[in-house]
Symmetry: D2
Subunit: 355 residues, 4 copies
């Protein structure tokens, strides 16, 4: 349920509405938009819906009370029509600029990390990526350097001035990762690790949520809703390919997800062509494709010598390939930036959007 | 097996090789490239491989005899490194220009068809599409106007000067469709209707082969090989979405297929965002995406009044939306045309390409 | 729309209803059940629904007129509550007995076929299978013996007294296949070859319809509806595995399809564990599984020397494995035959069945 | 790498081998079979493989040293040819008997739980199931009673004498769940939550590992390998359906997984037809199917009044349906128990098994 306040409604009136919601054992979430304030009512409303609606409509300052047509609420465009912009250090994600997250799959050593970030930071990257805790299919594969890797990442931030994103695999790691990194990444295998979603939602850092390789768009948005319901709506959605019958590529990149998400949610969307394709020579064309359909950025894996990488060498870009990709996507981003404005709900029929 | 002739080998030498192949009960296919001629040997070679190879290598004019690493041969880049360009009336597909196939899903009446083609032909379409024989999930749905529809399409060609593409559903329809249409379309449900593939291969018209919604890239190329093996390599590949667990869109558009195909085959590739997404407001962004990843063209459904369409109204563009899409993709095509040259085999490692 | 006649309604009354339907340009299909006659009205009814219903209700002999909740009508349990039993020579499919279709993947020679059928016919098979026209992914693979293979199959029928089933791949082959074989098989790649479905519907022979490897249950039933709408409801449904992300087996066998189909349709259902698993050692356990969930029979591939087979050798049973499988499934069939009676619509809630 | 000891090799010789392995920084895992002892060497062996092999072969008591053909080692049949039998209280899983895990989806109240367990415990269940911590797609759905629910489950064990299984969703919950429950369940969404797998591997309780709905058989076995690598090989594999394009059922139950797993691993396998189908009327036929293909047991959801259930009411069995299912599967289990002995590696060709 959304409570839309009248234009010009004051703090007292907003607090009156919130108080009524809290008194019902429900939780109010406020979006103070440019025009007017909207308050989402979340929790199990059940049978009291009609009665509650009537009481809210009768509360001073309330314009209308509307049902929410989607199961996700705080992350929906209906609640928050403006794009969410996430600001970290001097970088912004979702403000119309092009975000480029680049770095090695795994932090393998201080030297390997620094060699990589020195290159990408001076050739267009806006955020440094690198895995310290690595989710691996086999318990016998390299599992990452752990806290040592985090420390190197913090040094890399110092060195480059760029914010750092790294994966957190377990609730017990959230505090330590949040201490060293600027953005927490939740990996594809943990997209529905609900305990982790809530813990990241409380960590006070922006969160990048990768799509589960077997997850629908709606489940992905519901996972984001978990994070938002814990008080954090600084969420970046990352499309990284889904699992299908096709085996030529590692996954099937679902580029339709980008305009769909821009329509359904206010959160920024980036694409990861490295994991989606699994082949380095396909990273550039799919990064171009992602930017062309309107993605706010890309995440790619880069390694000084991919053939020596401890993980995902097949899909890591060399420095030369990274530079080629950058040259291509900067131009494409510039070219397409005014082409996708009509995807916002005002310009389409929301009822049919997910129909 | 490929027989690569020496540079400067003459007709007599080429005929000598062909004769040897025919005498073995196998079939030679010749690709006379700018540099040198390649002859593919197709058929069940089996145990005589080594002996045959030795005999071919000893034949006058032969430079080398190499194994073919892929199960498809005539459609592979290995056999035919140059892009195939298909010319129909005044239009070319695969020559670096942007092909736009547009028109109604079904030809519903002479008036509806003419109203549509008059618009699209004057707003950027290069080929007219329209269904006369319609494959429908239900036997009780509108099945198309049949031969009457074909006649209207032929009139539309007269009217616009543009070539016409339409679907052929059965071997018995190949002759009549080939009589009226310029390009034969094989639909997604018939991608492995091998009798139809062979019949279209013999019809003397270019063929557009839609990807089966459950088919891998390799199966799709093998289906194209059926057409080529019947003597026709004027084939256009059309990505139209595959079936996955995601239900928000009608299908999942596999844009990675575009650079993959450009790497693996010499045939032109177009994308069909109408069927891939099933929603008209997603057609423009995905058409942009398809062109951005290097597609040679797009195919879209357009209807004067989509809400009255007898089939696929939800995904048909209005005239206004068609014009918006055209404005977007012409610019994107211009912008990206030099970005994808490195996908050709010479620039990548073929061994890893499909690895 | 279904017109349910009163108990005891006579031929004149039934004809009156049919006449009214025909006069509307629609087609009546009659099911004369033990209790009462039901007439299905098929065709595009559109806006005249309410008016037509009123007129039918006022016609002598009519008890009620009801809407059909499913898109398939003639193949639905709602139209035809009793199981359809198909009788060919001395064999019945769907009568509660166990159907076993066995034989080689391809008819490779007269000797290979006879050696195989002599074994299976004396060890439990009730129907002989064998491919004369073979759909192959590659145009260069063995395509079957064609009409010569059909002749051998007809000889095999003479030899064993058992009916013969073989695949028809194209409308042009329907007549010749129907001349030699007792049951026409439509393969997985042709499940939505609508021209072929209609041609088989008119051929006067029972038809076995394999599920498309990418087809939903509903699309499969709609394909059967095509055959039925052409006047032939002697249809056997064959589950042969669907395509998923799992690659350990050739396909994923969907055994849930068996009880689902028994609930939704009156047609008999068999399972094909050879194609579903692609591995001979998995054929017996999955044949047991199929019979256990209520299948009316199984179809399996058998070869005297699988390692020499020209197609599908990996999944062909040896004679010894066939015998082991027979011993197992005969007992399981006997054991489970009274366990599944409650799947019929009377015993479940049809509204929830496919909900 | 597997070190196979000579028949009759003593403790000193086994310790000698283990010492050598430990000295290399690798981990030895011992399986003392009836005939002879096998020691698996796990860890990153890398380039020292040949040298290590030679040294091990020269160690007293060693018969042979063999490569392991699969990426999973401790859970493979190659390492441990005998079936693993798990004993909890008076119940055994994997000993040839029929395990039946039954109870409510969620523990909703003390009364609801006791009413349910009183019924199922006296009608054939061998293990009590019930969710205290519930993974829900929406953060606003009922999340389970938490520790209160665990206490009720412990009471239910007292009441019935049966062991209790319940889900653990996070590493932080492992201790408390292990305190109250007899078997820890890892849910489908957490199958690749590697931190949780390791934590459960160290908890000293048997673990039931549900298959991820998007996971291949090999990934599932690798997840089990994580648990085993932490020192716990008391693992039950639970097939609960995978995600495919088919939407009639909640998931597609992959019954082929049962014989495949019995071939590839020594761990017991149960099936969960409640989650696989999502429809209560399909639970009985698929439970029959699962038992028929050789499952060691079934897990089902039962509720006194499914229409009032706080979660998964559509798929919960009533008491009457549970009794019908029990009557059916007990007989089927008895009937098939001698039919699947030939799935063990000795009876098939392991090279082809997963080929």
């Amino acid at each position: 349920m959304f409570v839309v306040m009248r234009t010009g409604a004051g703090e007292a009136e907003v607090n009156g509405v919130k108080g009524l919601i809290l008194a019902e054992g429900l939780t109010p979430f406020e979006n103070a938009g440019a025009d007017r304030t909207v308050i989402a009512v979340v929790g199990e409303i059940g049978k009291r819906r009609e009665q509650l609606r009537a009481r809210l409509e009768a509360t001073p300052g309330v314009a209308t009370v509307t049902a929410i047509s989607k199961p996700y609420k705080l992350v929906s465009r209906e609640f928050h029509p403006e794009n969410t912009v996430i600001r970290v250090l001097d970088t912004a994600i979702g403000d119309g600029g092009l975000t480029v997250m680049a770095g090695p799959c795994s932090v393998e050593s201080r030297e390997q990390l620094f060699e990589t970030v020195d290159h990408v930071a001076t050739h267009g990257a806006t955020i440094i990526r690198g895995g310290a805790f690595k989710p691996r299919t086999s318990p016998y594969s390299f599992q990452g350097l752990g806290v040592e890797g985090l420390r190197y990442l913090a040094e890399a931030r110092q060195r480059t001035g760029l914010p750092v994103i790294t994966e957190v695999m377990d609730t017990n790691q959230v505090d330590i990762v949040a201490e060293y990194a600027d953005i927490l990444q939740i990996g594809t295998r943990n997209m529905q690790n609900f305990s982790l979603l809530l813990a990241c939602g409380r960590a006070g850092r922006p969160v990048m949520l990768k799509r589960g390789f077997g997850a629908t768009i709606e489940e992905w948005l519901m996972a984001a809703e978990y994070i938002a319901s814990a008080g954090n709506s600084q969420i970046i959605m990352c499309e990284r390919g889904i699992r299908t019958f096709e085996t030529t590529t590692r996954n099937t990149m679902d580029l339709t997800a980008v305009p769909l998400l821009h329509h359904l949610t206010h959160l920024p969307v980036v694409v990861d062509p490295s994991h989606a394709t699994g082949k380095r020579w396909l990273v550039k064309p799919l990064a171009i494709g992602g930017v062309a359909v309107g993605a706010d950025g890309v995440m790619v894996e880069v390694h000084p010598r991919p053939e020596e990488a401890l993980s995902d060498g097949e899909q890591s870009l060399t420095f030369a390939l990274f530079d080629q990709m950058m040259a291509a996507i900067v131009g494409v981003h510039e070219h397409v930036r005014d082409l996708h404005g009509d995807l916002l709900p005002a310009a389409t029929d929301p009822a049919k959007a997910a129909g």
